[in-house]
């Protein structure tokens, strides 16, 4: 695999900031890959992106683009395309002028600028909007202009900072899909920053999860989702249930529930378990089903039922007062005859267990 981007031991401190915004970050991105930098806000992911672009210089570490060390190369000469969260379109220029800017300042002939601009406007499906000004466009259209503008000079790397952050849900989905397709067509090395785990997992080839300036895990969406390397990743990606417990008799006791203990964890080791809403099995209402013989089956009280479209989020309280959230289809809820205040049997199908911060 050809290497598109290398980040080597990047460190960045900001004056007045506490500690390191970026704390020894390293990763490699293959040429033509589509990678998400995922993490909570303030996790350092935007700073890493800006360091790759050359908009920020690292205090320590090196940046390589296509095998060339560009750490000391100015942003203008790095041949990158950057899409800002706020779009940063030039408001006094038309859409065409915005898209053509990068070519025009390079002194490209008028005809070539026109040809490339038309081609890109067609690509972002804004061909008939060329004469408009940015303020005459919707958010999604502006974002597409920003993308076309970044692509126009033919960058070797495309960097996007929270590209869909300011858009409403429907446009977001459309643009995600579109970015994915654009990437398939052009195969340009692309890194985008997002705090939305669903966006990262559904769009990217690989995901770099960052928290507090450090890389938590690098992997394919499947790896990140199925085998979270750290408690943080498990909590951030997909899980909303976090249970505390300890190992007793070879099993991890989580209040009234229990699952297999992490290997090598002796009795008395305290563990944290991350449980995805769909990994909780709701066996049934206590008054209507026989309790299964299995030791894992515990009782819980239904605190609240929240319908979200065709899914229902069920907020439970376990015997030891730990909350547990389950998601079921509304048909299944009807089938079980769930109502608030009732007692139910629950079981855990799966849980990601961590002893302190070590993976199982």
């Amino acid at each position: 695999m050809l290497v598109g981007i290398v980040a080597r031991d990047l460190v960045k401190r900001f004056p007045g900031g506490s500690g390191r915004a970026v704390d020894v970050v390293s990763f490699e991105i293959g040429a033509g890959e589509l990678v998400a930098l995922l993490g909570p806000s303030g996790g350092g992911k935007t700073t890493v992106l800006r360091i790759l672009a050359g908009l920020e210089s690292p205090d320590e570490g090196r940046v390589l683009l296509r095998g060339v060390d560009v750490t000391d190369v100015r942003v203008q000469e790095r041949n990158i395309g950057f899409v800002f969260q706020s779009y940063a379109l030039f408001r006094h220029m038309t859409v065409r002028e915005n898209v053509g800017f990068g070519l025009e300042i390079r002194g490209k002939p008028r005809a070539e600028v026109d040809r490339v601009v038309s081609e890109l406007l067609a690509l972002v499906r804004l061909a008939e909007f060329g004469a408009r000004y940015p303020h005459e466009l919707s958010g999604g259209q502006r974002q597409r202009v920003a993308l076309a503008r970044a692509l126009a000079p033919g960058p070797s790397v495309l960097l996007l900072d929270e590209p869909f952050g300011a858009l409403d849900a429907k446009v977001r989905l459309e643009l995600r899909e579109w970015l994915r397709r654009l990437h398939e067509e052009r195969a340009i090395t692309t890194v985008f920053v997002t705090h939305d785990q669903e966006e990262a997992l559904s769009v990217a080839d690989r995901v770099i999860v960052m928290n507090r300036g450090k890389v938590e895990q690098i992997g394919t969406p499947e790896e990140i989702y199925d085998r979270p390397a750290t408690a943080f990743v498990a909590g951030f990606v997909g899980s909303i249930n976090e249970l505390e417990g300890e190992v007793r008799g070879g099993r991890a006791a989580l209040g009234s529930l229990a699952v297999h203990a992490p290997p090598g964890a002796g009795d008395g080791t305290s563990v944290r378990a991350f449980v995805r809403p769909h990994d909780v099995e709701l066996v049934g209402v206590t008054s209507r089903v026989e309790k299964r013989s299995s030791v894992e089956v515990a009782t819980a009280r239904v605190e609240r039922l929240v319908r979200v479209g065709w899914m229902v989020r069920i907020e439970l309280k376990l015997g030891d007062d730990q909350p547990l959230t389950v998601e079921l289809t509304k048909d299944r809820v009807a089938e079980l005859g769930l109502t608030e205040g009732e007692e139910v049997f629950v079981n855990l199908r799966d849980a990601k267990l961590f002893v302190q911060d070590y993976s199982i």
Binding site: L55, Q76, F84, F90, I105
Partner: protein, 255 residues
């Protein structure tokens, strides 16, 4: 309603009275009063000094605003406060300061004199005084627009390969140009009527260093109300036109 009445009493009524006084001897007399060599020279001097001041102000005010918004350095807050000081200082005091600094008895003034440049009691001192009293106008109109640009536009231009200078010329300047022009026009309008500082530094020699505002004062003092009104009408007309242009531009920018 109350606001309308207030405006009528405070602005329209005095202006109308002024117009009536100026026209009381007919259009011919008004023309003669305005075209009188002393009056004409005064108007020309006023326009010239105000124009030079507005041009310098546009450049320096933009530079100050840019530095204040884009750079972080010790003393920035103090500098930011300092900008408004000229508005708080009585203009007569401004005039005094310039004379004390550059007058014939001051060391700096003698230095310029030796170099063959007369500052005080000459047009340069008028321009200096005007620059001082109108300093905040361009800075304060450009500053908020620059802040709104928040640097992302400039960074976007850099990532597209534009140098700092190209970025300033092609991205930053066009965005703040309306504010620069508005600020410069406002300072121009303000300078037309500046009296306190000018009367101290100019020397007020008719046809050479007598400005329109000082000329009006002189005519009032010597009892020629008609001549004073005529000159005042000229000043009001120019100022009114400038205000019209500024407000038309602002409406255009928001429309």
């Amino acid at each position: 309603m109350a606001a309308g009445t207030y405006l009528l009493l405070m602005v329209a009524l005095p202006v109308a009275t002024l117009a009536r006084e100026g026209l009381s001897k007919g259009l011919g007399e008004l023309g003669r009063a305005i075209l009188h060599p002393v009056a004409r020279a005064a108007v020309l001097l006023t326009l010239e000094t105000a124009l030079v001041m507005a041009a310098v102000n546009a450049v320096m005010g933009t530079l100050i605003a840019y530095v204040l918004v884009r750079y972080r350095f010790p003393g920035r807050k103090l500098l930011d406060v300092l900008i408004d000081l000229p508005f708080a200082i009585p203009t007569l005091v401004t005039g005094m300061m310039i004379v004390t600094l550059l007058g014939p008895h001051a060391a700096l003034g003698q230095l310029f004199e030796a170099a063959g440049l007369r500052v005080v009691y000459a047009p340069p001192a008028i321009i200096l005084a005007l620059l001082f009293v109108t300093l905040p106008l361009v800075v304060r109109t450009v500053q908020p627009v620059l802040m709104e640009l928040d640097g992302a536009d400039e960074e976007a231009a850099y990532t597209l390969g534009a140098s700092e200078w190209t970025t300033f010329r092609r991205v930053t300047l066009p965005a703040i140009m309306p504010a620069i022009v508005s600020g410069a026009l406002q300072s121009f309008a303000r300078a037309l009527g500046e009296f306190g500082s000018v009367v101290v530094v100019a020397g007020n020699i008719p046809r050479r260093t007598l400005t329109a505002a000082v000329h009006v004062f002189g005519e009032v003092e010597s009892g020629d109300v008609h001549a004073a009104s005529a000159m005042s009408l000229v000043l009001v007309t120019i100022a009114f036109c400038v205000v019209l242009v500024v407000s038309a531009r602002q409406r255009g920018a928001h429309g």
